[in-house]
């Protein structure tokens, strides 16, 4: 192999993507793939990847084995002379390649629509701080918590834009433990706490994170439960009663 040649390795989504690229580069008829030639090219690619110490995903190896299997099947004479309509061993592979090619084409179509979509903004659902009295519990998924967290961080960031460019930075240490104690104390005083109210006082980023982690930790320790009445509504934190908890 010419060692001077700059090795250009294109990234492929997977073995099917690589095969399609090899087929189109060699101007091969997809319905009549010269399996020997394509297998060689395919193996050459994997070999180069290996030489460059790149991780070859297991899917690529599986396909290599499959190609070799097809190759060997094609070299063998048909087992039964009478069985004339025996399937071409390449047929299944060709079907998969074409199906994949169609979906690649559809993904380009989706991408063309995405250009406008990413420039379209919709408003967050309105947040009403007034807490409704009866909170029928609704399960909260990790996803909902994560998106609540993300919203807080984004809002915080926008607010930070208003801060003057030069100011003194005080080192600040916030421990999750302190926050847990703080929330527990608040829960002694109030029957229920409002998730968003915990983040109201222009907290720093590390304080927001610590508060969030503290809530998760309290949940894990079965000290509090979270409930949410409406989708995107406020999340209510309530203490689990001692008698239920202790025994």
């Amino acid at each position: 192999m010419d060692t001077n040649r700059a090795v250009q390795l294109q990234a492929f989504e997977g073995p099917l993507d690589l095969l399609l690229s090899l087929i189109s580069k060699s101007e091969i008829d997809i319905y009549d793939i010269p399996i020997c030639e394509i297998t060689n090219q395919y193996m050459q690619y994997l070999y180069t990847m290996n030489q460059l110490n790149m991780d070859v995903a297991s899917e690529f190896i599986v396909m290599a084995a499959h190609l070799i299997e097809i190759k060997s099947k094609m070299m063998l004479p048909p087992e039964d002379e009478d069985e004339t309509d025996e399937l071409d061993p390449r047929e299944e592979l060709v079907r998969r390649l074409i199906e994949y090619k169609i979906f690649k084409h559809i993904s380009e179509y989706i991408k063309s629509n995405e250009i406008t979509y990413v420039k379209t903004i919709s408003k967050d659902p309105e947040y009403f701080p007034q807490l409704k009295a009866d909170n029928s519990a609704l399960d909260i998924s990790a996803q909902m918590l994560a998106s609540a967290m993300r919203n807080l961080l984004i809002k915080h960031k926008i607010r930070v834009e208003d801060v003057p460019s030069a100011y003194t930075v005080d080192s600040e240490s916030v421990s999750v433990n302190d926050k847990m104690i703080e929330i527990s104390k608040l829960l002694e005083l109030n029957k229920a706490l409002n998730f968003f109210s915990l983040f109201e006082n222009n907290l720093s980023k590390s304080q927001i994170v610590a508060t969030f982690l503290a809530i998760l930790e309290l949940m894990k320790l079965n000290i509090v439960v979270l409930s949410q009445e409406d989708n995107y509504g406020d999340i209510v934190i309530t203490k689990i009663q001692e008698e239920n908890h202790g025994q």
């Binding site: 997809i30 994949y100 559809i106 993904s107 179509y109 990413v118 659902p125």
Partner: protein, 185 residues
């Protein structure tokens, strides 16, 4: 109330809620029929477009939402500097294409078509609200299946899923391109 007042209320509702609002919810609030509500919304939508207003009214199945006009994005971005508008990766787009046309589809089926692991792509799509779980399929192993959401319709700028171009259109296009390539050889 005349139509002008009703339209004005609809506009306020859509702004206040922010999230997509269902047609029947708005009709109930206005105490008018769903047909009349739909007619008013359609009118509001063309008014927004005709006058190049900053809002666009998008419809996703039976839900409506106010969104900004994409042409104005560059100016909004000057203020919302951290606005995250990253596009999907090729893996994400391929996975989304498969979910769109094969739904309800399992992860295994997606991976069979793509020939590679797709769980992280699926996670990204779920996180972005483009794909959601469609429950367990009634086949051995009861695998989870996935489907597209209203947000996907927003991405495709379609009012309903039925308006998605036929799979055969893409399929025929590819088959024709392939046989042309062969003919050249």
């Amino acid at each position: 109330m005349d139509n002008k007042q009703l339209t004005s209320i609809l506009e306020s509702i859509l702004f206040a809620v922010g999230d997509p609002v269902a047609l029947n919810v708005m009709a109930d609030a206005l105490e008018i029929s769903q047909n009349q509500t739909k007619a008013l919304l359609d009118e509001l939508k063309s008014e927004f477009d005709f006058e190049m207003r900053g809002f666009r009214l998008v419809q996703m199945e039976n839900k409506y939402q106010l969104v900004t006009r994409s042409e104005n994005f560059d100016y909004i971005k000057k203020i919302l500097k951290d606005f995250n508008n990253t596009t999907l990766s090729q893996a994400g787009l391929e996975t989304l294409a498969i979910v769109a046309y094969k739904q309800p589809v399992t992860r295994a089926e997606i991976e069979q078509i793509r020939g590679v692991q797709s769980s992280s792509s699926l996670d990204v799509l779920i996180d972005r609200g483009l794909v959601r779980s469609a429950g367990k399929l009634d086949v051995p192993g009861k695998p989870l299946s996935y489907e597209t959401t209203g947000e996907f319709l927003k991405l495709m700028n379609l009012e309903k899923l039925a308006l998605l171009p036929d799979f055969d259109e893409f399929s025929k296009g590819i088959q024709m391109a392939l046989s042309e390539e062969t003919a050249v050889i």
